[in-house]
């Protein structure tokens, strides 16, 4: 039907031109609805943003948990803990809508949602001068077996927009997971620590030597994974390691308190 094809072509051209004048509204990756984007870097619609439980100050500058804290001594939760990283900043509380989004990212093959969440984190870091001295961004790696089951590394997708915003290199292959570890969820506190110890390895020490690094992960619960990554990176010669995570989970023993 050649006439039909011509008509379709003309219609396509007209709609393409109209899109230049009046571009179609983007879709929110979480709810799928149309929305008017007021902030260019935020990919969520206002309704979804309202439902995400953001972690609001005051938070501890060391462990990121809610409550007053001291940058060196920590708060009452992290006073007794020894962690290798400088500090953690979490953006949301792991629960409610934030939990739904992160579970969809992990188990439902939603790389677009992970990127949107990463750009949300990047927008949140805009007003924090503490991140000016970061020299490279490193995502927490996945084991190869988990990578093929999931299809992508969600921490890498979170880190991509952050690295682009901070204008620093993204070192995705520098830190690798040497040993397959069980999922941390469902383990007790001491089991988690034992589970991740010795799981990571730095492949190229020269890339991290002397640098101030930013570790990116999706959830921080006890902080053992991040601490173990930081330990390996510091051994490889990094100057300082900071962490950002999309969500902060309450560990089992603090679940009632927090």
């Amino acid at each position: 039907m050649p006439i039909q094809k011509v008509i379709d072509l003309i219609n396509g051209a007209i709609s393409a031109l109209l899109d230049l004048v009046d571009p179609p509204l983007p879709l929110c990756p979480a709810c799928g609805g149309e929305f008017t984007p007021y902030y260019p870097r935020i990919h969520f619609c206002p309704a979804c943003l309202e439902r995400i439980p953001f972690l609001l100050p005051p938070v501890c500058p060391r462990c990121g948990r809610p409550g007053e804290g001291n940058p060196t001594a920590g708060c009452r939760y992290c006073r007794k803990e020894k962690r290798r990283y400088e500090r953690v900043k979490a953006f949301t509380v792991y629960g409610g809508y934030s939990k739904e989004i992160l579970q969809a990212v992990k188990y439902n093959f939603r790389p677009d949602l992970a990127r949107a969440l990463g750009s949300l984190m990047a927008a949140g870091m805009e007003n924090d001068p503490g991140y000016d001295r970061v020299e490279a961004v490193i995502p927490v790696p996945l084991h190869r077996r988990k990578l093929v089951a999931r299809g992508y590394n969600q921490a890498l997708l979170l880190a991509e927009p952050i690295a682009a915003f901070l204008r620093v290199p993204l070192l995705s292959d520098t830190l690798v997971r040497r040993r397959f570890t069980e999922s941390q969820s469902g383990l007790r506190r001491w089991e988690r620590k034992k589970n991740v110890t010795g799981a990571f390895q730095v492949t190229n020490c020269r890339e991290v030597a002397g640098k101030s690094l930013l570790l990116v992960d999706d959830i921080c619960t006890t902080g053992y994974t991040l601490s173990e990554c930081a330990r390996v990176l510091l051994l490889a010669g990094a100057r300082r390691v900071e962490c950002v995570t999309a969500a902060l989970g309450a560990p089992e023993d603090l679940r009632d308190e927090m």
């Binding site: 039909q4 979480a30 799928g32 739904e100 093959f109 790389p111 093929v148 299809g151």
Partner: protein, 585 residues
Amino acid sequence: MLTRRYFVTLRRPKKGPPAVGLSPEPGLDREWIEKTAYSGVAVWNRPFPLWLAEDLQQELSRLLATTGDFSLTGLGRKLSARAKYWGWPETGRWVDIPRREEILAGVFHHQDLFSRLLPAVLPGRFLTLREIASALSRAGLEVTDGVLEFLLHMEVLNGRVERLAGVGLDETGRFFCRRCGERERIGEEFSPEPPFTCRVCQSCLALGPVTGLQPLYRWRGSLPPRAAGAPLLTLPELTPWQMATARQVLAFWEGNGPRVFLIWAVCGAGKTEVVFLTIRRALAEGKRVLLTVPRREIAKELGERVKKCFPGLTFTLLHGGQKEEHPGDGLVVATTHQLLRFAPFFHLVILDEADAYPYRGNRMLINALFNTLLPEGKLIYMTATPDEEWRKKAVRGEIGLSRLVLRHHGFPLPVPALVQTALPPEENKNWQVPAPVLSFLHKAKGEKRQVLIFLPTVRLTEKAGRALQDVEEGLAVDYIHSRDPGKDRKLKAFEAGRLHVLVTTTLLERGLTFPRLDVLVLYADREGIFSTETLVQIAGRVGRSILDPFGEVLFVGEKISAPMQSARLWIEDMNKEAKKLGFLK
């Protein structure tokens, strides 16, 4: 977890009208058409929830089939109008899709193993994504739900698998559950996406939720053949009258007569052993057999019996809370609720205890049972107390019938005695034990026999149980009902003989065997609970063992009700007929 939404796609062949499809990720369709006869694929750039996408697909397909050609714009206008009708006012347009390497890498990495494992997992089943994922992980493939959905979508494109919304729209625009067929009890629940509602079937919620947003999958390709081979069968020696019935059932299986057969056997006749011969014949012919019962406890016991009688045969045992699956074998033992997860698959379906709760009168389970049967399949009911309807059908010759009127030990059924006496009203705070009950218990205790006392309600069970516990020293009494958390423990104690008397509701009316048992039914004139069938079943608990073929059954009521009379008549009729056979001892 956020649910996935589906895109409406138009696959354009080189000639002729386009084909309408659905896709969770159009990048996969784009990859797929490169190997096929299609020249391109257009995608509506607004995704929809599955039930709506399905409706849009049907609408567009209907348009294309009736009017032949439509321009893309015309189709788009129709689609927008239909979506708006269902409350989705967003406008969209047809777009081409780019290739997405990240998805393809994840999918193609597993595709070989997946397409090898799927024919062992999906044929004959009707499963949700989570159920497929758990079956695959048992078979050795671990993928996340998202990747699995894409793998299944590739199979949908290849035409091997069919995807349907769990709760979909029927021709009249009403929501109905595709798994159980429920139309009334479809609830609305909150969902994170607009329009913020999601239809969930409340009827089969116990087997995991089925919603309008999530798909159910079933196999569309040819069913994989089963290797024929006769399994080893070790049966206890069958009595002549059991052999006669077994021959009738075998003749039914091989003949071309009616497709439904009823085995009407007295309680304790050994009817399960009778069909094992037919099961063996069917398995030897390479056919698939389903053995099903309504209750979980009986299913477990049936599994044990199959394990004992077919040594070395691998079979699948399915009941709530536990699965032992061996894909590719011919025999499945399941509770009737599990049949909701099956598509037409079996050549022979055998329903034991066909009149038991919850199967009896349950439209959902009856549909599910017929749904497991292949078009050429045959159905055998086994029961001690068939419905009026079935008996009439058997008389008219619409279904085959075989009666097994004699127990395997050859002794007649104990005939119940009807007792009319005054009983304390249910509302009484201090429930007094009636004198006939006390004398009955004394007599039973003297003869070292156990007693089951049946009562109509849970409240009465508790009251009477407590009253009996206080009535005499040295008489161990306990009471159970379906809501009792310690019922397994008490049943074990009764089986071991640590309890003399067990007070119960109709919970124990069938399926269990105790040696040296007497039965007492109090308030037997409550017709709503103690119907004829129930009373016959209760009387059938007595005298099942060859060591003790006699026993006493007492129906106690304030009046002699019609079901009490007819239950007694029923049992006497059976005994008379057994006498005619000439084997009665």
